[in-house]
């Protein structure tokens, strides 16, 4: 297994947010984490990369227990994270944003550099010197993904990549994610949009109120319209 999460519990202050989350992601797989707003998708990702301080449980990445490592060490190990709110550096240019994400090459992981990423996201190549703050939402979303890929991750957590994007940009996003998959990057993508998830994912988990309530292939999910209707808004 590429990534195994067991018994993950997280807290924000006195509030218990995640309850015994368990996830598995295989080598080269694209797994969707589906759920409504506030179900706990982002908190799950933030807990996996260590951005939520108050948590318990185990996160195994490539056979190593990374639960107690600081965020930067987890990420350096090859577990990339693309946050939901984009969080690009608005004062930095496109190229400087990519520079922040740059990490040494890793033998086992697909490798990326600026030129390769500009091929994957041609828009970015045309605005290398533009400050991040003067880009459209779609371009910013591309940039966050490209920035994380600069770290040569073997697995990427993509938090709601389609959120707030126009249909045309979403199409480009699908292409980009499939291209990443083709390169051999394992991906966990959180989504509210089942249609988008179906286009890219091999398997899916459904999270509701901080608990995983379904896990299986996309076909298995399609065979259970009751679960789909109960936990996902269409």
């Amino acid at each position: 297994m590429k990534l195994t999460v067991k018994d993950l519990n997280s807290f924000y202050g006195p509030a218990h947010i995640l309850f015994d989350i368990a996830l598995e992601v295989g080598e080269g797989e694209v797994v969707a984490l589906l759920g409504r707003n506030g179900a706990g998708k982002s908190t799950t990702f933030r807990s996996i990369v260590g951005l939520v301080q108050n948590r318990s449980g185990r996160v195994m990445f490539e056979g190593r227990d990374v639960s107690d490592l600081p965020t930067h060490a987890i990420v350096r190990g090859g577990l990339g994270y693309v946050p939901e709110e984009r969080r690009i550096f608005t004062d930095l240019t496109v190229e400087e944003n990519l520079e922040v994400g740059r990490q040494p090459k890793r033998a086992a992981a697909p490798q990326w550099d600026r030129e390769k990423l500009f091929k994957l996201f041609p828009n970015l190549g045309e605005m290398r010197g533009r400050p991040g703050g003067r880009m459209s939402g779609g371009e910013q979303q591309m940039l966050t993904i490209a920035r994380t890929l600069m770290g040569n991750p073997s697995l990427v957590l993509l938090d709601e990549p389609s959120e707030g994007l126009s249909p045309k940009i979403v199409e480009q996003m699908v292409d980009a994610i499939l291209a990443m998959k083709k390169e051999g990057v394992s991906i966990v993508v959180s989504e509210q949009n089942l249609h988008f998830a179906r286009l890219i994912s091999d398997r899916a988990y459904i999270i509701e109120r901080g608990r995983i309530c379904f896990g299986g292939t996309m076909a298995e999910l399609d065979a259970r319209p009751d679960i789909r209707d109960a936990h996902l808004s269409l």
Binding site: F11, P14, A73, P83, G151
Partner: protein, 629 residues
Amino acid sequence: MAFYVVQFLTGLASAASLFLVASGLSIIFGVTRIVNFAHGAFYMLGAYVAFTLTERFSGALGFWGGIVVAALAVAVIGVLVEMVLLRRIYHSPELFQLLATFGLTLMVEDLAVLIWGPDDLVGRRAPGFKGAIDFFGQNIPSYDLFLIVLGPVVLGVLWLLFQRTRWGVLVRAATQDRDMVAALGVNQKWLFTSVFALGVFLAALGGALQIPRDAVNHAMDLRVIVEVFVVVVIGGLGSIIGAFVAAVLVSELNAFGILIFPKISIILVFLVMAVVLIVRPWGLFGKPEAPARRTPGLTVNPWRPLTMNERFAAIAVLVLAAALPFVAGNYLLTVGSEIAIFVIFAVSLHFLMSVGGLASFGHAAYFGLGAYGVALLAKMAGLPMIACLLLGPLLGLMGAAVFGFFAVQLSGVYFAMLTLAFAQIVWSIAFQWVSVTGGDNGILGVWPEKWAASPSHFYWLSLGIAALAVVILRIIVFSPFGFALRATRDSPLRSEAIGIDGKRIQWTAFVIAGTVAGLAGALFAYLKGSVFPDNMGISLSVDALVMVLLGGVETVSGAVVGAIVYKALNIWLVSQTDWSKLVLGAFVVLIVVAFPKGIVGTLEALMHRRRKSSSSVSPLLTSRIESAE
């Protein structure tokens, strides 16, 4: 004409050092979000170490090498400080960070005296820059010209460093979103440490470069830090260009202010700062800050009024305290009066910073204004004591009304820096306006009238007023006004959304706190029989902060306990050691790191836990509430 050109150049030369120190402070703040109060101390250490090295090693190499080595050596000290102290408090509320670095400043001051002695040290001239250049009959020291060139050169080097290197890109990224930088695999710890090292290096270099111009002494840290605060507030915290422009502006204002308005030269700079803050609260080149973290906020124990039993207990304690004159001698009664006065002072600051969420670093200004108010009324107008006690604090009220109006436009560290700067203005007026305030000699002979003159009577008077002040402030805390104030503290946006005029509420709180502090100052003037500029000095402001902190920032009346314990300790300490600043500074650092809840806060937490454990709630829930933000 030539004279004005020379004056202008002198200003530019002074700007160089100021820029070095201010840019260091700005860089450190940008990434770590810590306003490093100890920056002045590093500046001073740079000067002292450079003095020692340049005296020891002769020749041009000895001099220039000594300056650079001094800056590097102090940077190493800075790295140690960062790793040992600051790393522990990066997630603390900013008040704690300011206090810890201030504690450090106090320690360094005493250490400097311990190592280099209390006298001014005059360093040697810079080899190659000893002479002066004749400019239409006016002399310009050639070292000044060197500094004038150095400023822009350093600016250029810093610019290249931040624009052209990977390290610079990472620092700029971290300035905007440090968590995201960590989430991209960058080790923040070393980034922070290296940034801190650079900032301290710049401060120390600024200090070291001053030795051919100025004598080195152990008061230069506070002098420079106040100027630097002004510079970064005008230029915008976090902006290096802003630091440069503002350093030039401030230095020129100083240089020409002395010619044009010699009486108010110090005030001129602060006036400019006030104007900038009104027009652009985040400084000329700064960016608007996201709402600051809540100032208090380690736990969420809701405040509640005292229960009946607790009220009886409080009254019993008061009665006990009132019985002191029957058992104690005059010395103890005087100490008791002083403690009672500082209880008033501490609760007034507590009201502002715990209830209002506005941590003032210049609260002594209003204490001092009250004291001067009484002294002036008693000596010049010859009013009776009761009238003086009632009218004297009005000077504190007026000061608080004027300064508070500007100060509450800001929050967090900007608020702290501005209140400190205002306190320095008041202090320098008292110090400079000799014809009215007596300057350094103060005003003497402010003695209480017969009915209050005996130590026991004065003690009862102080105790009574202290009790009254505590009760009134408590009533305000639990009044609708108090609710609105606390709502504004906890969430400015939400309280505004329900129709609370946050700025006006905070201004009112500032005025209340200033008036009560003025009352304490008024009593203090009668207790001591005199007033001095030090009655409004920085160290008194910090004393008050420490009292509140020691008692417990998040409690309703912890300041009372804090004031009693701290003042008693302080009086004892001063009688025991000559190095009170060293001990006091270490004490402050220790509280911040090991004991952030204070005495009352810790007791409350213990009681809370006992109550909780009986109802079996997961300890996880109560342990780390602060990560909730």
